[in-house]
Symmetry: D2
Subunit: 437 residues, 4 copies
Amino acid sequence: MTINQALDTNIATLGPCKVDTPLPYYHYISDAEKISLFLSPDLLDAPNDGQTIAEFEEAGPREKIYFDPPKTKCAIVTCGGLCPGINDVIRAIVMSAHHNYHVSGTLGIRYGLQGFIPKYQHDVVELTPHNVRDIHEFGGTILSSSRGPQPPEEIVDALERMNISILFMIGGDGTMKAASAVTEEVLRRGLKIAVIGIPKTIDNDINFVPRSFGFDTAVEKATEAIRCAHVEALGAPAGIGMVKLMGRESGFIAAQASLALKEVNFVLVPEAKFKLHGQDGFLEKLKERLQNRGHAVVVVAEGAGQDLCQVDGQQDLSGNPILGDICEVLRAEIKEHFSAHDFSYTLKYIDPSYIIRSIPANSNDRIYCGFLGQHAVHAAMAGKTGMVVSKLQERYMYLPLRIVTAKRRKLNIKSNYWRSVMESTGQPQEIFSTDEI
Amino acid sequence: MTINQALDTNIATLGPCKVDTPLPYYHYISDAEKISLFLSPDLLDAPNDGQTIAEFEEAGPREKIYFDPPKTKCAIVTCGGLCPGINDVIRAIVMSAHHNYHVSGTLGIRYGLQGFIPKYQHDVVELTPHNVRDIHEFGGTILSSSRGPQPPEEIVDALERMNISILFMIGGDGTMKAASAVTEEVLRRGLKIAVIGIPKTIDNDINFVPRSFGFDTAVEKATEAIRCAHVEALGAPAGIGMVKLMGRESGFIAAQASLALKEVNFVLVPEAKFKLHGQDGFLEKLKERLQNRGHAVVVVAEGAGQDLCQVDGQQDLSGNPILGDICEVLRAEIKEHFSAHDFSYTLKYIDPSYIIRSIPANSNDRIYCGFLGQHAVHAAMAGKTGMVVSKLQERYMYLPLRIVTAKRRKLNIKSNYWRSVMESTGQPQEIFSTDEI
Amino acid sequence: MTINQALDTNIATLGPCKVDTPLPYYHYISDAEKISLFLSPDLLDAPNDGQTIAEFEEAGPREKIYFDPPKTKCAIVTCGGLCPGINDVIRAIVMSAHHNYHVSGTLGIRYGLQGFIPKYQHDVVELTPHNVRDIHEFGGTILSSSRGPQPPEEIVDALERMNISILFMIGGDGTMKAASAVTEEVLRRGLKIAVIGIPKTIDNDINFVPRSFGFDTAVEKATEAIRCAHVEALGAPAGIGMVKLMGRESGFIAAQASLALKEVNFVLVPEAKFKLHGQDGFLEKLKERLQNRGHAVVVVAEGAGQDLCQVDGQQDLSGNPILGDICEVLRAEIKEHFSAHDFSYTLKYIDPSYIIRSIPANSNDRIYCGFLGQHAVHAAMAGKTGMVVSKLQERYMYLPLRIVTAKRRKLNIKSNYWRSVMESTGQPQEIFSTDEI
Amino acid sequence: MTINQALDTNIATLGPCKVDTPLPYYHYISDAEKISLFLSPDLLDAPNDGQTIAEFEEAGPREKIYFDPPKTKCAIVTCGGLCPGINDVIRAIVMSAHHNYHVSGTLGIRYGLQGFIPKYQHDVVELTPHNVRDIHEFGGTILSSSRGPQPPEEIVDALERMNISILFMIGGDGTMKAASAVTEEVLRRGLKIAVIGIPKTIDNDINFVPRSFGFDTAVEKATEAIRCAHVEALGAPAGIGMVKLMGRESGFIAAQASLALKEVNFVLVPEAKFKLHGQDGFLEKLKERLQNRGHAVVVVAEGAGQDLCQVDGQQDLSGNPILGDICEVLRAEIKEHFSAHDFSYTLKYIDPSYIIRSIPANSNDRIYCGFLGQHAVHAAMAGKTGMVVSKLQERYMYLPLRIVTAKRRKLNIKSNYWRSVMESTGQPQEIFSTDEI
């Protein structure tokens, strides 16, 4: 399905809304209130005309809802890798479902999709406003997580057994696809279970989600590693500070962190192929920088330069290819090239790895997670299903799952944004393949 | 001038652009490339239709520019109160003007508009990429600031004397009005001086600037005070933690910080009048909360409840009315009311004051300030004048000064946003005057 | 009782130790292992000879203990104002009592000494390794606190009723005196209840406790306010940044924070009387500083300059005199003096108040709190009573309560330490009364 | 030379002190004022009697000094790896030498000992109170550093050429040995140059320096990585969080950080050999922990378990042996052992590496660095040479260089301190070789 087709689909509902909401609001959002947007070219990957208009349902509480709260039981599951803010989303869902709607209960499914499958023997936990009260002060997920798919049939079996009316699935691309499969299985069985996805990705690579929750926190933390790399680079003769950052297929963290701490001289991302060798290659340009300025900071997204790595085609549990270690390649090549030119240098390598993702969310992400959770509950109570909450152009709206699973978001290296990264680093464009930029 | 009229004006230019830009970009922004937006109701203060379309010039480098860089001297001035990120904006302007455009020099005007006026005898400083290199690690402004207006004629005299081609004015509402006056005086004299405003306000109350730079940092810092107030409230029998936050005429910091740290039980802002006394009044509701839950956190924007304060009509140097001390009033009223009911309590009052505004910007604000500075330089080099850079619906654009000076931005207490604040705090709506919400 | 007499007293014990410890250690501390110390003059307030030797019991586990763990119930109470690290101490006590000694239970007494008195109707809470697991991540005390004394008889009644064998009292000077009174009442009744004091004071003013827990964290946090005051002072013409810090009778936080962030130009503490007026007075010296350097940072301990304030002799609930507001006096005097000299200035006043004490402990304090808690348990299990744990000259030891209650610790303004504060600020000694230094 | 012999040596001086100090102090320290200390067993590595008394010169300003300040030129050099607080020491030296003593100038030698050797062509920089003003806000060293020795003769040649009277050498064990060699060469030539060492080591392994500057900051930062490892461990089924921390020959950071954040279940340090295999081995005990508790946090000092690694005997530039990668060994062994037992697990490995050492110092370290710098200047001005400043049992004193170079400090695994680490982690003692504990 193309994006344009996906954009034309409406959000599915379980049925007409006949129950009065318990929310004492002065105004509600009606399903008819669509938000019109001029889609920016980045969303569409189309030429830069910016004249495509799309319409989405506005997020928020409806005056009539589908589920009768005292008979409604919710479940929350968190899947895939950690990310700042998961606990904030959990907390917001529980607070909204209980304090605003007074649902009968919320179950926490432990260890991701495994938690639905009997053979793993994971317990469920009862989530209440009291026991989620302070969880936003901790990184990670109080529910724990796991990787990899589980059969949608068994998941729906579990939902039926536990009498769940609403399932909130917090996870990445794979989890959003699982959410689609669960939604379909629910519909196939004619059940009345709403499935709401809350996309989570540290790489910020989910389509139509310009900023995934936790991303801002991760960038902030990543700048600490960059600052250290800069200090180390300055601290030694011909000092190189090299930082590896997350970003398997898209270099958003690397790019954003380089804009945030403008000491970076080279940013390498998966979206922009670069040359190592030759007069215009990275190695020679790095040497020039060291000769002219005495130090250099290099930021590398983990998925950059995969064409330069030897990879064996293996996959991890989530089905993602295991990446080659580009930083190891770069360090070896720098050693060889600089030795060959009899050029002494000092390289300090920093891999903050999980440090940038296991921390609690900052204020900006907390607010965002709060809205995501609240709007997810509003949507679910109104019987919407197979959808996600997103914030586009400063407003919250509801999108069909298929829009976000249609493709992965990537850095547009022809955009103003990437140009600013280039301006800010001052890195020579020659190192990138000319057909890319 | 109404907003709608202001929206129809174009950005003034000093003349046709005939110089080739030195920027080696693969693509440039043309003045013809307008960005179309559906204006959200908050921007217009109009009924909630969201169907008004506006067009603005897209921010970014132009292929032809107006000023010849080697003959172009810039000046930067910072006015009014401090705010996180001022140094980042200064740094971005200097870096872009020097590294990208190679202008002949940039002068820093010291101590705000005073720095233009001979009688104050403030020196100017030469700003170079080298000496602004590390300034983003410090709060405040390396140029210092001052409050209050100065005659536009004397400012333009000074610009002429110093041979300035481009003036960047970083400041609040008053400074943006001064920028308009300077622009007009420049045009009256037929000079070729571009004037670019960069709106700065810790209160986030500038029109058509949905998020002012430094706001996110200030909110993050404000949550620390709220967390402490919560800890203090929990630490004593019937403990009240009261926090005063900046916000003279608009309660954005108070509202946003309460969303960010959801321990807040009452948020009082200038936009929502509240009752102190009576069964539905704040005092009684606070007592109820303490009786039921044992503690309470109250966040107060400094401009809240001015109808309850005695004020004498005096003004500060910037011409702002001196506010009554609402927290003093509240503390006295709580004491009286609770004593009258023989209700023991402990109140801990925290006023973080300048702590939230004198700190360095966080990553999110740093990136934002970087773009504001770069785009200000791109605009100025292209001979645009009497304008500001703003980010609306995720994109940077150029707006005429008159749009931002037309009125002050305020919290819309009929918005989804404020509703979320109410949801999050759980504060009783009855305390607010019924005609407001 | 003089210090020297107090130094000669031994620690009381409830009886001979006959129970084998469950701790599987390779070596134990014997009561006979005394630590010899040359007492530094600061501890004794004596002339600078440093030749007085004292002997104290070394802290640590004993091979034979007094209480039989499975029959031993502990209680913890936290009293007075908050301080970073209280939760760490609670956690360490519970972890050590349960994991190392396997006591039958630990009760948390809520809201300070009030929690023992039936009329207040506060519940107790059961403390277990599970429910104290994460409390070190939060400031304050999970047990809450209250101020003021309660009758020792009623406290001991409560201990008897609840079958408590060991009481840990965390609190300030007043609480240590209460601990003495409770110890005496226990002995008078011939009960076998150990009472261990853990001195807590944000002002660091407890005798023979050179560094109270939480002090290091509070100083670290206080420097943030000073940094902001410096930024504000730099940001305006003749800018003064004034910071008020805790320190009722001793200026340790003010002095230490000024050493930690050397931007401070004047430090005013209770121990050093200063002159306001005259050629050598503070006002004139402040003006000189502003004239020469353009800005000034002034740090004021809340108890400084009380001779300059009007105080009415009232006391707070803990029996401490209510202090005059020295910063208000200084601001008024500065205004008058500078106006009289027609000298324009800008003063920014920052009172971080509870922000410096309600935060979680930093690593240094955490480690310290961990040792205090562990050693308190080791002492109590060995039947020691009427004592505190202290760290002197890098080693942990047990001291009789009377040593720490003999007098308040104060800054020695004739010490090398205070000289370094003067060196670091460069403040003129003339402002201080000559008979003091 | 044994420690006991070293303890008997006096500090060398360049000659009698005849110049009046410019310091306007009310009291001075006389050389005759010795500080007596009972040496704790840890300092001596002797049996636990604690009855050995040593005497050291007290640090501080002397009333008569050796050098005539207006004719005195200082130099500062920083060597070896980075460490928090180096800039604070530099700043304190410059401030004290210039503001207190008014020396004629201070030169900064760039890039460590290389900076003395002409062939490297590194410039020197003039250090003034103005240009070191803000350097404490940055990590690293503004002078840069390098590794490895240089000929003492050439260093003294350079000192003569530059007319240096006082050389401050900030560096590790190797640098302290170089300082001894330079001192001897100076004396051999009959020059009047004072050489003062300021020991720097992130590993905290310098003899008679119980806490090296920057150590506290590094520990604080290391706990962040441990917290993340804990979050990651909790976030997955049978989750292991493994953290590698600095500590080549001594595990102080690992041990201290584990005390600071008590989520650690295993700490492996160089001083305590451990078994991998067998019923009592690390692998089996780790599996037990995972089976019982579902997660585990393992902290590993980089120099731990070298007997389990393959090392090839190579050395780095500073002459330190290149260590085997124990964490790689552990990860491989865990994989093999757990696969063999068909036990699924998730391991997240975090190596914060330079992140813990390139940051600015915290307040505690800043104060410490300030005293180290000030006292170094006081010593040098009085003509003392071949010595270091140390803080022992809470007081600053002067020690001959030979005491600190006599041996490396190591964790005493028979101490109360290490016992507390064991108590806090609860790690089974069986995994350690029995002859060690």
